[in-house]
Symmetry: C2
Subunit: 198 residues, 2 copies
Amino acid sequence: MTVSFWFEFASTYSYPSAMRIGSLAASHGVSIQWRPFLLGPIFRKHGWEDSPFNLYSAKGRYMWRDLERICARYGLAFRKPSQFPRNGLLASRIACEHADQDWCPAFVKAVYRANFEHDEDIGDPAVVAQCLPVPRADVDQVIAQATSGAAKLRLREQTEEAESAGIFGAPSMLVGDELFWGDDRLEQAIEFAAGGRD
Amino acid sequence: MTVSFWFEFASTYSYPSAMRIGSLAASHGVSIQWRPFLLGPIFRKHGWEDSPFNLYSAKGRYMWRDLERICARYGLAFRKPSQFPRNGLLASRIACEHADQDWCPAFVKAVYRANFEHDEDIGDPAVVAQCLPVPRADVDQVIAQATSGAAKLRLREQTEEAESAGIFGAPSMLVGDELFWGDDRLEQAIEFAAGGRD
């Protein structure tokens, strides 16, 4: 009855999934584990030093059009970012450190909207700070904590865990050992989790 | 009201689409143009000398499981081929030469079933011959014609046309200039065509 939602802040198709998963899971009585990870280290093992959407131009052109159609279908605002991919490292470390906080889903969605709706640089700590739904007095502490050695290590370990689980792209959903990849598999993953087969 | 269905006989996700598109299109009043092409020349430009599902093992493992789930969902028989990818060159040339024949869809589906249901070598002319729903007396002629220089040229030109249209994988559906990629976009493509926006 739990789905692990593996996302990467730079990932385009993770945006609609991050925006949709909350209500979808709730309507099926499924709980969510929010698991940020980094695609960079996984892609580099494929020999890719950039997003495959940049390396393979036809695929990239298609993706932007497809994403536009998906967002229109789900009523999500979308503006093609002027920079792609953006650096989601700080935001990922924060989401990794605070995955169990009740504000984490709101933070994740705010970062995705900054990137894919408002075309803001989510690599900029000031932008990340604005996305944090915590009391103003706590913002600096959350950001400082996310740059500690322990926080860096945890995100690295979580990325290794993703790879060990067979994850190669984002978003990915894990229900037990059953892997689902892509925004177009989100419903299927939630239904699988709701079936109690995890 | 027409969808161009671009398929490659070695492509795993083209199998469920080839089996499903006929009834789906008919129920929406959409006509189908059957357009075989080859992914090999397109992949080679990416530097891939093999299927990306073989080159990237995590993605390959996921694809086989995902395809199994898709076939189960649609009630399609499926056996993982003992060889992948198989050589669909002869079958593609035949489908390209005879795309407008009323037997072409039945031929295409028979070849896909040979590969993905019966684990037969579709590179073998004897297997291709068994898939041809034409009078026995015509089989040899159809196969001979498919190996003519003109037939080879037509498939090569059709593959170049696919690439020019922005196609980078299979199955792909084109409705006018609007491109849809993947079995999971088949319904969307048919609905788009039914909306008369082509």
